[in-house]
């Protein structure tokens, strides 16, 4: 335990000083890594712990991004407050989808498609809403005012992203230790059996979904004020839902370190393919990325963290395998 705390403190110290040492392109990479690890952590609550795979988290993300942006531009409400309005709206939508889906016992493939369809409906609606800028997208004016969630340079964003990730991981850690976490894992492992044992599966799946959606929406606000531009065909696209879910799965769904490791690994692979292959033909770097993804799945079919943990246990004398 002390060793663990020591490691955590050392890692924390490195992370605090890291952005001042590395060049700005690296800062950007680290911000993206933290930020997708955070989104992965939010997805993890529903997809990893409760085992309800969602391919529609882009919808919650976009609700968070658009709500805070519109509240700031139309009603002069600071995004620091607006982000919670976005989170509440996203939680409401998730409860709506969850109510419909879980009430009727949709599972597995059917639930995945319900979430996908919901996100696609949101995308099509957003494209036709003048308030959100339609196809042109929504631009956010840059006024370097921290109260408006806007900062000069990358370092403040680095620390906010890191803070998001730390807070998100903390929440997941708390869930994992709580009864809720145990219920969610029970639902994932065998829904019928846990129902038979008296677990209110509907209720806990709803809680997991709402939490997951709200946290994802908070991440959407960060994106809005990091990119200063929102377009439905990027933020609400299926590919974005895929981006959100892919990291926790690669890292190991249903573990705290999974989304973090997955995010680091995929960011590295993505950067590798962009750096060495983006200059060539259009599409080549994505092909390389896709091939690397396939290789990762074939060689680490349980995910990065579970595989590592398994190896560690085997090495320790007397440890169970």
């Amino acid at each position: 335990m002390t060793l663990r705390l020591g490691l955590l403190a050392a890692a924390g110290a490195v992370l605090v000083f890291l952005p001042f040492w590395v060049p700005s392109t690296w800062q950007n990479l680290l911000i993206t890594t933290f930020y997708y690890a955070y989104l992965g952590q939010a997805w993890n609550i529903l997809g990893g712990y409760a085992g309800q795979l969602s391919l529609g988290h882009a919808a919650f993300f976009a609700i968070g991004a658009y709500t805070s942006a519109v509240l700031a531009s139309q009603y002069a409400i600071s995004p620091w407050l607006g982000m919670f309005a976005g989170a509440a709206l996203a939680a409401l939508l998730s409860l709506g989808i969850g109510y419909l889906g879980f009430r009727f016992g949709l599972r597995g493939f059917y639930f995945i498609l319900l979430t996908l369809a919901a996100a696609e409906i949101c995308r099509l609606i957003a494209l036709h809403l003048p308030l959100l800028g339609g196809y042109t997208g929504l631009f956010i004016n840059f006024t370097p005012n921290p109260w408006q969630f806007q900062f000069q340079g990358k370092i403040p964003y680095y620390f906010i992203a890191l803070g998001f990730l730390a807070a998100g991981s903390g929440i997941v850690w708390l869930i994992q230790r709580s009864k809720l976490g145990a219920y969610l894992v029970a639902i994932r492992e065998d829904e019928d059996a846990s129902e038979a044992l008296g677990v209110d599966t509907f209720r806990y799946k709803m809680i997991a979904y709402a939490l997951s959606a709200a946290l994802t929406a908070l991440g959407g606000t960060f994106y809005a004020y990091y990119q200063y531009y929102l377009q439905p065909n990027t933020v609400l696209h299926i590919n974005h839902s895929v981006d959100i879910m892919i990291r926790p799965i690669v890292g190991g769904a249903g573990t705290i370190l999974g989304p973090v490791l997955g995010s680091f690994l995929l960011e590295l692979l993505g950067e590798f393919s962009r750096t060495y292959f983006a200059g060539g033909m259009a599409g080549l770097s994505v092909v390389i990325y896709g091939v690397l993804l396939i290789i990762v799945v074939l060689f680490l079919p349980r995910g990065v963290y579970p595989t590592l943990a398994h190896l560690m246990r085997r090495r320790r004398p007397g440890g169970a395998t």
């Binding site: 795979l53 889906g101 493939f109 099509l124 769904a253 259009a282 994505v286 896709g290 993804l293 396939i294």
Partner: protein
């Protein structure tokens, strides 16, 4: 009024080829429980192959389905044998990731080879039409409908009447039972993925006479296939067929009633309604 009837007729005709595409997805899911996220991209490869044969050798796309069907069969069988068969006992979400990786590779290799600009197979009969009363029929759409129907019927007979077809259905109904009676399940998987892929590859070729396409076309058809299979009923042959026709008609009507860019929303709303009130699908039986 005739505008709507016209839209329904056009949607119905396009729906036939949607059905063929969805039958492929339904077969793959039914047997392996794998969601083929690369379904639309496999279709796009069928389309480009037809295009290439048309441009270089003047082969009519209705003829080249023999080549594209076989080629995409091999592609699908290779994906199953080389990739999916290796991770059969991994968590379910890993299979999804694997197929997403395959989809990325297929789409972007197409982008490298043919570039992002839309292509079109301009046959001499591309714009031929005939009238039946007040309704106009596009000749290519009618021909595509007929051939898609014939191929679907062929698949049906294959599954019902041949030994291989029975093996595939056995593996789909009860995998352990099929294993117990000595079915070589990995071979059946490879075959089933190949046939499912061949369906969508042929469907792609059949669409080229009236549909311009680009590498990014695939995703739309992947999602449309998902919709159809759920609407019709997972694992139901007739369901996938009826679902295809329904989605074709609803998209076509949606484009007329709403704006064309919103046409997809009709089939998504249809999907949500089906999921809510009849989650087993229109013609599915239980889950």
């Amino acid at each position: 009024m005739s505008l709507y009837v016209q839209a329904i007729v056009n949607g119905f005709l396009v729906g036939g080829v949607y059905s063929l595409m969805a039958l492929g997805l339904s077969l793959i899911f039914g047997v392996m429980r794998v969601i083929n996220f690369a379904h639309g991209d496999m279709m796009v490869w069928g389309m480009y192959l037809s295009y290439w044969l048309f441009v270089t050798a003047g082969v009519d796309p209705y003829l080249s389905i023999l080549v594209t069907g076989s080629a995409v069969f091999l592609l699908g069988a290779a994906v199953q044998k080389g990739l999916v068969n290796r991770i059969l006992d991994a968590p379910h979400e890993m299979q999804i990731l694997l197929m997403l990786g395959v989809a990325l590779v297929l789409e972007n290799v197409a982008l490298m080879v043919w570039g992002p600009d839309p292509r079109r197979v301009s046959t001499t009969y591309a714009l031929s039409t005939f009238w039946l009363g007040p309704i106009v029929f596009d000749l290519p759409k009618v021909a595509t409908f007929g051939l898609a129907l014939a191929l679907a019927l062929g698949l049906y007979l294959f599954l019902k009447k041949t030994d291989l077809g029975r093996m595939i259905r056995a593996a789909s109904d009860n995998q352990i039972g099929a294993l117990l009676v000595g079915t070589d399940i990995l071979k059946v998987f490879t075959l089933a993925f190949g046939i499912g892929a061949a369906c969508v590859g042929a469907a792609g070729s059949l669409m080229t006479p009236f549909l311009p396409f680009s590498p990014s076309t695939g995703l739309f058809f992947t999602v449309t296939s998902f919709n159809i299979v759920i609407i019709g009923g997972m694992g139901s042959f007739l369901g996938a067929f009826v679902g295809g026709l329904l989605v074709g008609m609803s998209e076509s009507l949606g484009a007329v009633i709403l704006v064309p860019s919103l046409k997809e929303i009709v089939s998504f709303v249809l999907l949500v309604l089906i999921l809510l009130f009849r989650p087993q699908g229109l013609l599915g039986s239980g889950r």
